[in-house]
Amino acid sequence: MTDTAALPPGPAPQAVRRPRKPHPPAAPAKRVQFDRPLTPWLFVLPQLLVVAIFFYWPSVQAVNSSFYLEDPFGFGASFVGIDNYREALSSREYRTIAAFTAGFCALVTGLALGIGLLLAVKADKVIRGASAYKTALIAVYAIAPPVTGLIGMMFFDMHIGPFKDLAALFGHDLRVGIDYDDTALALVTVAVWKQIPYNFIFFLSGLQSVPVAVREAALLDARSGWRRFRDITLPLLAPTAFFLLVINITYSLFDTFAIIDVMVKDKPANNPMTLVYKVYLDGFKGNDIGGSSAQSVILMLVVAALTIVQFRLIERRVHYG
Protein backbone atom coordinates (compact mmCIF):
# COMPACT_ATOMS: atom_id res chain seq x y z
CA MET A 1 0.00 0.00 0.00
CA THR A 2 2.86 2.39 0.51
CA ASP A 3 3.39 2.73 -3.17
CA THR A 4 0.01 3.97 -4.25
CA ALA A 5 0.83 7.54 -3.65
CA ALA A 6 0.95 9.15 -7.04
CA LEU A 7 -2.34 10.84 -7.58
CA PRO A 8 -2.76 10.97 -11.34
CA PRO A 9 -1.84 7.66 -12.87
CA GLY A 10 0.96 7.73 -15.34
CA PRO A 11 -0.85 6.49 -18.38
CA ALA A 12 2.11 4.81 -19.97
CA PRO A 13 3.18 2.00 -17.66
CA GLN A 14 -0.12 0.23 -17.45
CA ALA A 15 -0.65 0.31 -21.18
CA VAL A 16 2.45 -1.68 -21.93
CA ARG A 17 3.33 -4.45 -19.61
CA ARG A 18 6.99 -4.08 -19.16
CA PRO A 19 8.90 -6.13 -16.66
CA ARG A 20 9.21 -4.52 -13.31
CA LYS A 21 11.74 -4.74 -10.58
CA PRO A 22 10.45 -6.72 -7.63
CA HIS A 23 9.64 -4.32 -4.86
CA PRO A 24 8.37 -5.60 -1.52
CA PRO A 25 5.80 -3.17 -0.14
CA ALA A 26 7.43 -2.77 3.25
CA ALA A 27 10.89 -1.96 1.92
CA PRO A 28 12.23 1.51 2.69
CA ALA A 29 12.01 4.08 -0.04
CA LYS A 30 15.76 4.15 -0.56
CA ARG A 31 18.51 1.60 -0.31
CA VAL A 32 20.71 4.15 1.40
CA GLN A 33 19.20 6.45 3.97
CA PHE A 34 20.36 8.89 6.58
CA ASP A 35 20.28 7.59 10.09
CA ARG A 36 19.75 10.61 12.31
CA PRO A 37 17.25 10.74 15.13
CA LEU A 38 16.36 14.43 14.99
CA THR A 39 16.84 15.83 11.50
CA PRO A 40 13.88 14.11 9.80
CA TRP A 41 11.58 15.60 12.42
CA LEU A 42 12.74 19.07 11.56
CA PHE A 43 11.89 18.47 7.94
CA VAL A 44 8.51 16.85 8.46
CA LEU A 45 7.32 19.01 11.33
CA PRO A 46 5.94 22.03 9.40
CA GLN A 47 3.73 19.82 7.27
CA LEU A 48 2.65 17.77 10.28
CA LEU A 49 1.68 20.87 12.23
CA VAL A 50 -0.39 22.29 9.39
CA VAL A 51 -2.11 18.96 8.89
CA ALA A 52 -2.81 18.55 12.61
CA ILE A 53 -4.19 22.05 13.14
CA PHE A 54 -6.09 22.56 9.93
CA PHE A 55 -7.11 19.03 9.04
CA TYR A 56 -7.42 16.79 12.08
CA TRP A 57 -8.68 19.33 14.55
CA PRO A 58 -11.62 20.51 12.39
CA SER A 59 -12.38 16.98 11.21
CA VAL A 60 -12.64 15.71 14.78
CA GLN A 61 -14.72 18.73 15.67
CA ALA A 62 -17.10 18.01 12.77
CA VAL A 63 -17.68 14.48 14.01
CA ASN A 64 -18.02 15.70 17.57
CA SER A 65 -20.53 18.48 16.92
CA SER A 66 -22.62 16.22 14.72
CA PHE A 67 -23.80 14.57 17.95
CA TYR A 68 -24.84 17.83 19.58
CA LEU A 69 -27.68 20.25 19.16
CA GLU A 70 -26.25 23.73 19.36
CA ASP A 71 -28.31 26.47 20.86
CA PRO A 72 -28.94 29.06 18.14
CA PHE A 73 -28.17 31.89 20.55
CA GLY A 74 -24.86 30.40 21.57
CA PHE A 75 -25.85 29.12 25.03
CA GLY A 76 -24.08 25.80 24.98
CA ALA A 77 -25.03 22.58 23.27
CA SER A 78 -26.81 19.45 24.35
CA PHE A 79 -25.91 15.90 23.41
CA VAL A 80 -28.51 14.38 21.14
CA GLY A 81 -26.83 11.20 19.93
CA ILE A 82 -27.58 10.32 16.35
CA ASP A 83 -30.62 12.58 16.14
CA ASN A 84 -28.94 14.96 13.71
CA TYR A 85 -28.21 12.08 11.36
CA ARG A 86 -31.68 10.66 11.68
CA GLU A 87 -33.19 14.05 11.03
CA ALA A 88 -31.06 14.69 7.97
CA LEU A 89 -31.58 11.29 6.40
CA SER A 90 -35.33 11.25 7.01
CA SER A 91 -36.01 14.78 5.83
CA ARG A 92 -37.71 15.00 2.48
CA GLU A 93 -35.76 18.06 1.51
CA TYR A 94 -32.48 16.26 2.14
CA ARG A 95 -33.58 13.32 0.04
CA THR A 96 -34.63 15.56 -2.82
CA ILE A 97 -31.26 17.28 -2.73
CA ALA A 98 -29.45 13.95 -2.51
CA ALA A 99 -31.37 12.71 -5.53
CA PHE A 100 -30.56 15.86 -7.46
CA THR A 101 -26.90 15.57 -6.48
CA ALA A 102 -26.76 11.99 -7.73
CA GLY A 103 -28.38 12.89 -11.03
CA PHE A 104 -26.23 15.98 -11.40
CA CYS A 105 -23.07 13.94 -10.74
CA ALA A 106 -24.06 11.28 -13.23
CA LEU A 107 -24.87 13.80 -15.95
CA VAL A 108 -21.84 16.00 -15.46
CA THR A 109 -19.46 13.06 -15.18
CA GLY A 110 -20.91 11.24 -18.16
CA LEU A 111 -21.01 14.24 -20.46
CA ALA A 112 -17.65 15.70 -19.46
CA LEU A 113 -15.93 12.33 -19.85
CA GLY A 114 -17.67 11.54 -23.15
CA ILE A 115 -16.95 14.88 -24.78
CA GLY A 116 -13.41 14.97 -23.41
CA LEU A 117 -12.72 11.50 -24.82
CA LEU A 118 -14.23 12.33 -28.21
CA LEU A 119 -12.12 15.46 -28.55
CA ALA A 120 -8.98 13.68 -27.35
CA VAL A 121 -9.40 10.86 -29.86
CA LYS A 122 -9.85 13.36 -32.67
CA ALA A 123 -6.97 15.58 -31.52
CA ASP A 124 -4.73 12.52 -31.34
CA LYS A 125 -5.54 11.72 -34.97
CA VAL A 126 -5.02 15.04 -36.69
CA ILE A 127 -1.59 16.32 -37.54
CA ARG A 128 -2.26 19.66 -39.09
CA GLY A 129 -3.28 22.24 -36.50
CA ALA A 130 -2.90 19.77 -33.65
CA SER A 131 -1.20 22.21 -31.29
CA ALA A 132 -3.69 24.99 -32.04
CA TYR A 133 -6.59 22.69 -31.18
CA LYS A 134 -4.79 21.56 -28.08
CA THR A 135 -4.20 25.08 -26.84
CA ALA A 136 -7.82 26.04 -27.45
CA LEU A 137 -9.13 22.94 -25.71
CA ILE A 138 -6.88 23.27 -22.68
CA ALA A 139 -7.32 26.99 -21.99
CA VAL A 140 -10.58 26.76 -20.06
CA TYR A 141 -8.91 24.56 -17.43
CA ALA A 142 -7.34 27.66 -15.95
CA ILE A 143 -10.63 29.47 -15.41
CA ALA A 144 -12.02 29.37 -11.89
CA PRO A 145 -15.46 27.84 -11.22
CA PRO A 146 -16.98 31.15 -10.01
CA VAL A 147 -15.82 32.84 -13.20
CA THR A 148 -17.33 30.11 -15.34
CA GLY A 149 -20.44 30.50 -13.21
CA LEU A 150 -20.54 34.21 -13.97
CA ILE A 151 -20.02 33.70 -17.70
CA GLY A 152 -22.62 30.94 -17.70
CA MET A 153 -25.06 33.15 -15.88
CA MET A 154 -24.69 35.82 -18.55
CA PHE A 155 -25.26 33.32 -21.31
CA PHE A 156 -28.42 32.08 -19.63
CA ASP A 157 -29.53 35.55 -18.54
CA MET A 158 -33.18 36.40 -19.13
CA HIS A 159 -32.39 39.75 -20.76
CA ILE A 160 -29.06 39.47 -22.50
CA GLY A 161 -28.38 35.73 -22.72
CA PRO A 162 -28.05 34.18 -26.17
CA PHE A 163 -29.32 30.84 -24.83
CA LYS A 164 -32.64 32.44 -24.03
CA ASP A 165 -33.06 33.24 -27.74
CA LEU A 166 -31.79 29.82 -28.72
CA ALA A 167 -34.37 28.11 -26.53
CA ALA A 168 -37.05 30.44 -27.87
CA LEU A 169 -36.34 29.10 -31.36
CA PHE A 170 -37.49 25.72 -30.11
CA GLY A 171 -40.49 27.28 -28.45
CA HIS A 172 -39.11 26.93 -24.93
CA ASP A 173 -39.25 29.79 -22.48
CA LEU A 174 -35.94 29.47 -20.63
CA ARG A 175 -36.19 30.88 -17.12
CA VAL A 176 -32.96 30.15 -15.31
CA GLY A 177 -33.11 31.04 -11.64
CA ILE A 178 -36.87 30.69 -11.52
CA ASP A 179 -37.68 27.38 -13.13
CA TYR A 180 -36.15 24.37 -11.37
CA ASP A 181 -35.41 22.33 -14.49
CA ASP A 182 -34.06 25.26 -16.45
CA THR A 183 -31.68 26.13 -13.64
CA ALA A 184 -30.57 22.51 -13.43
CA LEU A 185 -29.89 22.54 -17.17
CA ALA A 186 -27.80 25.69 -16.84
CA LEU A 187 -25.82 24.27 -13.91
CA VAL A 188 -25.07 21.04 -15.76
CA THR A 189 -24.03 22.91 -18.91
CA VAL A 190 -21.60 25.18 -17.10
CA ALA A 191 -20.20 22.38 -14.93
CA VAL A 192 -19.56 20.18 -17.98
CA TRP A 193 -18.03 23.04 -19.95
CA LYS A 194 -15.55 23.71 -17.16
CA GLN A 195 -14.49 20.07 -16.80
CA ILE A 196 -13.97 19.09 -20.45
CA PRO A 197 -10.37 20.40 -20.68
CA TYR A 198 -9.22 18.38 -17.67
CA ASN A 199 -10.55 15.14 -19.13
CA PHE A 200 -9.19 16.08 -22.53
CA ILE A 201 -5.66 16.57 -21.15
CA PHE A 202 -5.61 13.18 -19.45
CA PHE A 203 -7.23 11.24 -22.28
CA LEU A 204 -4.90 12.79 -24.83
CA SER A 205 -1.79 12.02 -22.83
CA GLY A 206 -3.12 8.49 -22.33
CA LEU A 207 -3.61 8.10 -26.07
CA GLN A 208 -0.23 9.53 -26.93
CA SER A 209 1.55 7.13 -24.65
CA VAL A 210 0.31 4.18 -26.73
CA PRO A 211 3.47 3.07 -28.55
CA VAL A 212 3.65 3.46 -32.31
CA ALA A 213 4.17 -0.30 -32.74
CA VAL A 214 0.85 -1.03 -31.06
CA ARG A 215 -0.90 1.55 -33.21
CA GLU A 216 0.52 0.13 -36.42
CA ALA A 217 -0.34 -3.42 -35.45
CA ALA A 218 -3.86 -2.27 -34.69
CA LEU A 219 -4.08 -0.60 -38.07
CA LEU A 220 -3.20 -3.89 -39.75
CA ASP A 221 -5.54 -5.98 -37.64
CA ALA A 222 -8.66 -3.88 -37.71
CA ARG A 223 -9.63 -1.88 -40.75
CA SER A 224 -12.66 -0.22 -39.29
CA GLY A 225 -11.92 2.82 -37.18
CA TRP A 226 -14.73 2.12 -34.76
CA ARG A 227 -13.56 -1.45 -34.13
CA ARG A 228 -10.01 -0.25 -33.61
CA PHE A 229 -11.29 2.23 -31.08
CA ARG A 230 -13.48 -0.30 -29.26
CA ASP A 231 -11.08 -3.24 -29.21
CA ILE A 232 -7.71 -1.57 -28.81
CA THR A 233 -7.84 2.09 -27.85
CA LEU A 234 -10.58 1.85 -25.24
CA PRO A 235 -9.07 -1.03 -23.23
CA LEU A 236 -5.73 0.76 -23.22
CA LEU A 237 -7.45 3.89 -21.94
CA ALA A 238 -9.48 2.10 -19.28
CA PRO A 239 -7.10 2.92 -16.39
CA THR A 240 -7.09 6.60 -17.29
CA ALA A 241 -10.86 6.49 -17.58
CA PHE A 242 -11.31 4.93 -14.15
CA PHE A 243 -9.05 7.50 -12.60
CA LEU A 244 -10.95 10.29 -14.32
CA LEU A 245 -14.27 8.81 -13.26
CA VAL A 246 -13.44 9.27 -9.59
CA ILE A 247 -11.95 12.72 -10.20
CA ASN A 248 -15.06 13.79 -12.10
CA ILE A 249 -17.42 12.55 -9.41
CA THR A 250 -15.42 14.42 -6.79
CA TYR A 251 -15.46 17.48 -9.03
CA SER A 252 -19.19 17.46 -9.54
CA LEU A 253 -19.77 16.93 -5.81
CA PHE A 254 -17.43 19.62 -4.49
CA ASP A 255 -15.84 21.91 -7.03
CA THR A 256 -19.19 22.90 -8.47
CA PHE A 257 -19.97 24.72 -5.23
CA ALA A 258 -18.79 28.04 -6.66
CA ILE A 259 -20.76 27.57 -9.87
CA ILE A 260 -23.93 26.97 -7.89
CA ASP A 261 -23.25 29.81 -5.49
CA VAL A 262 -22.73 32.29 -8.32
CA MET A 263 -25.58 31.07 -10.47
CA VAL A 264 -28.33 30.74 -7.89
CA LYS A 265 -27.03 33.77 -5.98
CA ASP A 266 -28.27 33.08 -2.47
CA LYS A 267 -31.75 32.42 -3.77
CA PRO A 268 -31.93 28.70 -3.09
CA ALA A 269 -35.72 28.84 -2.62
CA ASN A 270 -36.92 26.84 -5.59
CA ASN A 271 -33.53 26.16 -7.12
CA PRO A 272 -31.62 22.92 -7.35
CA MET A 273 -28.52 22.53 -5.19
CA THR A 274 -26.02 19.87 -4.26
CA LEU A 275 -25.41 18.31 -0.85
CA VAL A 276 -22.29 20.39 -0.30
CA TYR A 277 -24.24 23.56 -0.89
CA LYS A 278 -26.79 22.39 1.66
CA VAL A 279 -24.04 21.83 4.25
CA TYR A 280 -22.95 25.41 3.68
CA LEU A 281 -26.47 26.83 3.80
CA ASP A 282 -27.46 25.02 6.99
CA GLY A 283 -24.19 25.82 8.71
CA PHE A 284 -23.66 29.44 7.77
CA LYS A 285 -27.06 30.75 6.82
CA GLY A 286 -29.27 28.52 8.95
CA ASN A 287 -26.96 28.35 11.98
CA ASP A 288 -27.78 24.67 12.39
CA ILE A 289 -24.29 23.56 13.32
CA GLY A 290 -25.20 20.06 14.51
CA GLY A 291 -27.25 19.30 11.41
CA SER A 292 -24.65 20.76 9.11
CA SER A 293 -21.92 18.73 10.81
CA ALA A 294 -23.91 15.52 10.53
CA GLN A 295 -24.32 16.17 6.81
CA SER A 296 -20.59 16.87 6.60
CA VAL A 297 -19.82 13.52 8.18
CA ILE A 298 -22.18 11.73 5.77
CA LEU A 299 -20.37 13.40 2.88
CA MET A 300 -16.99 12.55 4.38
CA LEU A 301 -17.95 8.89 4.36
CA VAL A 302 -19.00 9.09 0.73
CA VAL A 303 -15.77 10.80 -0.32
CA ALA A 304 -13.58 8.54 1.76
CA ALA A 305 -15.20 5.51 0.11
CA LEU A 306 -14.66 7.02 -3.32
CA THR A 307 -11.03 7.81 -2.62
CA ILE A 308 -10.33 4.33 -1.31
CA VAL A 309 -11.83 2.87 -4.47
CA GLN A 310 -9.61 5.18 -6.48
CA PHE A 311 -6.45 4.15 -4.67
CA ARG A 312 -7.26 0.47 -4.92
CA LEU A 313 -7.68 0.93 -8.66
CA ILE A 314 -4.38 2.75 -8.98
CA GLU A 315 -2.67 0.19 -6.80
CA ARG A 316 -3.89 -2.68 -8.89
CA ARG A 317 -2.47 -1.21 -12.05
CA VAL A 318 0.63 0.68 -11.17
CA HIS A 319 3.56 -0.64 -9.24
CA TYR A 320 6.50 1.61 -9.03
CA GLY A 321 9.84 -0.03 -9.35
Partner: protein, 280 residues
Protein backbone atom coordinates in the same frame (compact mmCIF):
# COMPACT_ATOMS: atom_id res chain seq x y z
CA UNK B 1 -0.76 6.19 -41.55
CA UNK B 2 -4.42 6.84 -40.93
CA UNK B 3 -6.60 8.83 -43.24
CA UNK B 4 -7.81 12.10 -41.83
CA UNK B 5 -11.41 12.84 -42.50
CA UNK B 6 -12.79 16.36 -42.64
CA UNK B 7 -15.28 15.25 -40.00
CA UNK B 8 -12.46 15.00 -37.45
CA UNK B 9 -11.53 18.61 -38.02
CA UNK B 10 -15.16 19.63 -37.88
CA UNK B 11 -15.61 18.03 -34.47
CA UNK B 12 -12.42 19.61 -33.19
CA UNK B 13 -13.32 23.04 -34.49
CA UNK B 14 -16.76 22.75 -32.96
CA UNK B 15 -15.32 21.61 -29.62
CA UNK B 16 -12.71 24.35 -29.57
CA UNK B 17 -15.35 26.93 -30.46
CA UNK B 18 -17.70 25.81 -27.70
CA UNK B 19 -14.90 26.13 -25.17
CA UNK B 20 -13.29 29.32 -26.42
CA UNK B 21 -16.11 31.48 -27.80
CA UNK B 22 -17.74 32.17 -24.40
CA UNK B 23 -14.37 33.36 -23.11
CA UNK B 24 -13.91 35.64 -26.12
CA UNK B 25 -17.43 36.95 -25.74
CA UNK B 26 -16.82 37.74 -22.09
CA UNK B 27 -13.78 39.72 -23.10
CA UNK B 28 -15.48 41.48 -26.03
CA UNK B 29 -18.54 42.35 -23.97
CA UNK B 30 -16.38 43.85 -21.24
CA UNK B 31 -15.33 46.52 -23.75
CA UNK B 32 -18.89 47.66 -24.46
CA UNK B 33 -21.05 49.84 -22.24
CA UNK B 34 -23.68 48.30 -19.97
CA UNK B 35 -26.46 50.02 -21.92
CA UNK B 36 -25.22 48.53 -25.21
CA UNK B 37 -25.14 45.05 -23.70
CA UNK B 38 -28.55 45.60 -22.20
CA UNK B 39 -29.99 46.48 -25.60
CA UNK B 40 -28.13 44.14 -27.93
CA UNK B 41 -27.02 41.22 -25.79
CA UNK B 42 -23.49 39.84 -25.69
CA UNK B 43 -20.83 40.87 -28.19
CA UNK B 44 -18.27 38.89 -30.10
CA UNK B 45 -16.37 41.93 -31.41
CA UNK B 46 -14.59 44.33 -29.08
CA UNK B 47 -16.06 47.78 -28.52
CA UNK B 48 -14.62 51.15 -27.60
CA UNK B 49 -15.46 51.46 -23.90
CA UNK B 50 -12.78 49.01 -22.74
CA UNK B 51 -10.22 51.43 -21.34
CA UNK B 52 -12.79 53.34 -19.34
CA UNK B 53 -14.39 50.19 -17.93
CA UNK B 54 -11.13 48.57 -16.88
CA UNK B 55 -9.87 51.81 -15.41
CA UNK B 56 -13.03 52.09 -13.40
CA UNK B 57 -12.99 48.48 -12.22
CA UNK B 58 -9.35 48.65 -11.19
CA UNK B 59 -9.44 51.97 -9.37
CA UNK B 60 -13.00 52.64 -8.24
CA UNK B 61 -13.59 51.99 -4.58
CA UNK B 62 -16.50 49.63 -4.38
CA UNK B 63 -18.05 47.04 -2.11
CA UNK B 64 -20.22 47.78 0.88
CA UNK B 65 -17.69 49.73 2.86
CA UNK B 66 -16.41 51.42 -0.26
CA UNK B 67 -12.75 50.78 0.31
CA UNK B 68 -11.75 47.93 -1.96
CA UNK B 69 -10.60 48.46 -5.53
CA UNK B 70 -10.10 45.96 -8.33
CA UNK B 71 -6.36 46.50 -8.10
CA UNK B 72 -6.44 45.63 -4.42
CA UNK B 73 -8.35 42.40 -5.16
CA UNK B 74 -5.89 41.59 -7.93
CA UNK B 75 -3.04 41.99 -5.45
CA UNK B 76 -4.80 39.79 -2.88
CA UNK B 77 -5.41 37.09 -5.48
CA UNK B 78 -1.75 37.26 -6.41
CA UNK B 79 -0.67 36.96 -2.78
CA UNK B 80 -2.96 33.97 -2.34
CA UNK B 81 -1.81 32.26 -5.55
CA UNK B 82 1.91 32.79 -5.07
CA UNK B 83 1.83 32.32 -1.30
CA UNK B 84 -0.05 29.07 -1.64
CA UNK B 85 2.22 27.72 -4.39
CA UNK B 86 5.44 28.62 -2.57
CA UNK B 87 4.16 27.36 0.76
CA UNK B 88 3.05 24.13 -0.81
CA UNK B 89 6.40 23.53 -2.48
CA UNK B 90 8.44 24.30 0.65
CA UNK B 91 6.31 22.24 3.03
CA UNK B 92 5.88 19.28 0.76
CA UNK B 93 9.50 19.09 -0.40
CA UNK B 94 10.71 19.07 3.17
CA UNK B 95 8.19 16.47 4.28
CA UNK B 96 8.87 14.26 1.28
CA UNK B 97 12.60 14.52 1.91
CA UNK B 98 12.16 13.31 5.48
CA UNK B 99 9.95 10.44 4.38
CA UNK B 100 12.18 9.22 1.57
CA UNK B 101 15.73 9.85 2.75
CA UNK B 102 15.61 9.05 6.46
CA UNK B 103 15.30 5.89 8.43
CA UNK B 104 13.37 6.81 11.54
CA UNK B 105 10.69 5.39 13.76
CA UNK B 106 7.15 6.54 13.12
CA UNK B 107 7.93 7.19 9.48
CA UNK B 108 5.05 4.94 8.44
CA UNK B 109 2.43 6.41 10.81
CA UNK B 110 3.48 9.89 9.73
CA UNK B 111 3.16 8.91 6.12
CA UNK B 112 -0.38 7.75 6.75
CA UNK B 113 -1.28 10.81 8.82
CA UNK B 114 -0.33 12.99 5.88
CA UNK B 115 -1.80 10.64 3.32
CA UNK B 116 -5.23 10.69 4.99
CA UNK B 117 -5.67 14.37 4.14
CA UNK B 118 -6.24 13.33 0.57
CA UNK B 119 -9.44 11.62 1.63
CA UNK B 120 -11.40 14.70 2.59
CA UNK B 121 -11.63 17.93 0.66
CA UNK B 122 -11.95 21.17 2.55
CA UNK B 123 -15.57 21.56 1.55
CA UNK B 124 -16.83 18.81 3.84
CA UNK B 125 -15.23 20.25 6.97
CA UNK B 126 -15.84 23.87 6.14
CA UNK B 127 -17.93 24.76 9.20
CA UNK B 128 -15.55 23.39 11.89
CA UNK B 129 -12.57 24.79 9.95
CA UNK B 130 -14.15 28.19 10.22
CA UNK B 131 -14.63 27.76 13.96
CA UNK B 132 -11.01 26.71 14.41
CA UNK B 133 -9.82 29.73 12.46
CA UNK B 134 -11.98 31.99 14.54
CA UNK B 135 -10.61 30.48 17.78
CA UNK B 136 -7.07 31.05 16.51
CA UNK B 137 -7.93 34.66 15.59
CA UNK B 138 -6.88 34.04 12.02
CA UNK B 139 -9.96 35.44 10.30
CA UNK B 140 -9.08 38.32 7.98
CA UNK B 141 -5.37 37.56 7.82
CA UNK B 142 -3.20 36.34 4.97
CA UNK B 143 -2.06 33.47 7.18
CA UNK B 144 -5.63 32.34 7.61
CA UNK B 145 -6.20 32.67 3.90
CA UNK B 146 -3.20 30.61 2.84
CA UNK B 147 -1.97 28.18 5.50
CA UNK B 148 -5.11 26.04 6.01
CA UNK B 149 -5.19 25.37 2.27
CA UNK B 150 -1.75 23.80 2.63
CA UNK B 151 -3.16 20.99 4.73
CA UNK B 152 -3.45 18.59 1.83
CA UNK B 153 -0.83 16.15 0.75
CA UNK B 154 -0.88 16.34 -3.04
CA UNK B 155 2.46 18.14 -3.26
CA UNK B 156 4.09 15.81 -0.77
CA UNK B 157 3.19 12.87 -2.94
CA UNK B 158 4.42 14.41 -6.15
CA UNK B 159 7.79 15.07 -4.53
CA UNK B 160 7.91 11.74 -2.76
CA UNK B 161 7.41 10.06 -6.09
CA UNK B 162 10.09 12.22 -7.67
CA UNK B 163 12.67 11.69 -4.92
CA UNK B 164 12.23 7.95 -5.14
CA UNK B 165 13.24 8.11 -8.78
CA UNK B 166 16.48 9.95 -7.98
CA UNK B 167 19.39 7.48 -8.27
CA UNK B 168 20.76 6.18 -4.96
CA UNK B 169 24.29 6.71 -6.19
CA UNK B 170 23.90 10.45 -5.70
CA UNK B 171 23.38 10.06 -2.00
CA UNK B 172 26.22 7.55 -1.74
CA UNK B 173 28.58 9.90 -3.52
CA UNK B 174 27.47 12.84 -1.40
CA UNK B 175 28.08 10.89 1.79
CA UNK B 176 31.53 9.86 0.67
CA UNK B 177 32.22 13.54 0.11
CA UNK B 178 31.09 14.15 3.64
CA UNK B 179 27.82 15.98 2.98
CA UNK B 180 25.25 15.97 5.76
CA UNK B 181 21.48 15.76 5.22
CA UNK B 182 20.89 19.50 5.05
CA UNK B 183 23.80 19.98 2.67
CA UNK B 184 22.60 17.16 0.43
CA UNK B 185 19.09 18.59 0.34
CA UNK B 186 20.09 22.14 -0.53
CA UNK B 187 23.05 21.49 -2.81
CA UNK B 188 21.89 18.43 -4.71
CA UNK B 189 18.22 17.61 -4.33
CA UNK B 190 16.76 21.11 -4.70
CA UNK B 191 18.67 21.94 -7.90
CA UNK B 192 17.74 18.52 -9.25
CA UNK B 193 14.04 19.18 -8.63
CA UNK B 194 13.88 22.47 -10.50
CA UNK B 195 11.61 21.26 -13.33
CA UNK B 196 9.37 19.47 -10.90
CA UNK B 197 9.14 22.57 -8.72
CA UNK B 198 8.21 24.72 -11.70
CA UNK B 199 5.49 22.32 -12.81
CA UNK B 200 4.02 22.14 -9.32
CA UNK B 201 4.25 25.89 -8.95
CA UNK B 202 2.10 26.36 -12.05
CA UNK B 203 -0.54 23.87 -10.95
CA UNK B 204 -0.65 25.21 -7.40
CA UNK B 205 -0.68 28.85 -8.44
CA UNK B 206 -3.76 28.24 -10.57
CA UNK B 207 -5.33 26.28 -7.74
CA UNK B 208 -4.65 28.99 -5.16
CA UNK B 209 -5.70 31.86 -7.41
CA UNK B 210 -8.96 30.09 -8.20
CA UNK B 211 -10.00 29.42 -4.58
CA UNK B 212 -13.51 30.61 -3.84
CA UNK B 213 -15.21 29.10 -0.81
CA UNK B 214 -12.35 29.45 1.65
CA UNK B 215 -11.53 33.12 0.95
CA UNK B 216 -15.24 33.85 1.03
CA UNK B 217 -15.51 32.53 4.59
CA UNK B 218 -12.16 33.77 5.85
CA UNK B 219 -12.51 37.37 4.81
CA UNK B 220 -15.21 39.74 5.95
CA UNK B 221 -12.84 42.71 5.86
CA UNK B 222 -12.99 43.90 2.28
CA UNK B 223 -9.31 44.82 2.29
CA UNK B 224 -8.63 41.07 2.05
CA UNK B 225 -11.06 40.32 -0.76
CA UNK B 226 -9.74 38.39 -3.72
CA UNK B 227 -11.08 38.72 -7.26
CA UNK B 228 -13.19 35.58 -6.78
CA UNK B 229 -14.79 37.17 -3.74
CA UNK B 230 -15.28 40.36 -5.73
CA UNK B 231 -17.31 38.47 -8.30
CA UNK B 232 -19.78 37.45 -5.64
CA UNK B 233 -20.01 41.01 -4.38
CA UNK B 234 -20.60 42.59 -7.76
CA UNK B 235 -23.44 40.16 -8.43
CA UNK B 236 -25.04 40.86 -5.05
CA UNK B 237 -24.88 44.60 -5.61
CA UNK B 238 -26.69 44.63 -8.89
CA UNK B 239 -29.77 42.71 -7.81
CA UNK B 240 -32.57 45.19 -8.33
CA UNK B 241 -30.61 47.84 -10.19
CA UNK B 242 -32.05 49.28 -13.42
CA UNK B 243 -29.32 48.28 -15.84
CA UNK B 244 -26.89 45.94 -14.11
CA UNK B 245 -23.20 46.70 -14.68
CA UNK B 246 -22.74 43.84 -17.11
CA UNK B 247 -19.58 45.37 -18.51
CA UNK B 248 -17.95 45.73 -15.11
CA UNK B 249 -18.83 42.19 -14.13
CA UNK B 250 -17.28 40.94 -17.35
CA UNK B 251 -14.20 43.08 -16.81
CA UNK B 252 -13.82 41.62 -13.34
CA UNK B 253 -14.23 38.12 -14.78
CA UNK B 254 -11.53 38.83 -17.36
CA UNK B 255 -9.16 40.12 -14.67
CA UNK B 256 -9.88 37.01 -12.62
CA UNK B 257 -9.21 34.56 -15.41
CA UNK B 258 -6.39 36.22 -17.31
CA UNK B 259 -3.39 35.47 -15.05
CA UNK B 260 -4.04 31.71 -14.62
CA UNK B 261 -4.96 31.48 -18.30
CA UNK B 262 -1.68 33.07 -19.35
CA UNK B 263 0.35 30.93 -16.97
CA UNK B 264 -1.23 27.73 -18.25
CA UNK B 265 -0.92 28.69 -21.91
CA UNK B 266 2.63 30.01 -21.74
CA UNK B 267 3.90 27.04 -19.76
CA UNK B 268 1.55 24.61 -21.46
CA UNK B 269 4.03 21.81 -21.93
CA UNK B 270 5.38 21.95 -18.41
CA UNK B 271 1.90 22.24 -16.97
CA UNK B 272 0.60 19.14 -18.74
CA UNK B 273 3.71 17.22 -17.78
CA UNK B 274 3.30 18.16 -14.15
CA UNK B 275 -0.38 17.28 -14.19
CA UNK B 276 -0.29 13.93 -15.90
CA UNK B 277 3.11 12.58 -15.09
CA UNK B 278 3.99 11.63 -11.60
CA UNK B 279 5.71 8.29 -11.94
CA UNK B 280 9.03 8.99 -13.45
Amino acid sequence: MQKIKPLDHLILILGAAILIVPVLMAFASSTHSAAEIHMNGLYLAPGSEGVATYHKVLTQRGGFTGEVTGARMLLNSLILGVGFAVGKIVLSMMAAYALVYFRFRLATPIFWAIFTTLLLPLEVRIMPSYQVMSQLHLLNTYTGLIVPLLASATGTFYFRQFFKSVPDELLEAARIDGAGPVRFFIDILVPLSRTMMAAIFIIMFVYGWNQYLWPMLMTTDEGFFTLMRGIKTILQVWVGSQIPDYNEAFALAVLAMLPPLLVVLVFQRMFIKGLTESDK
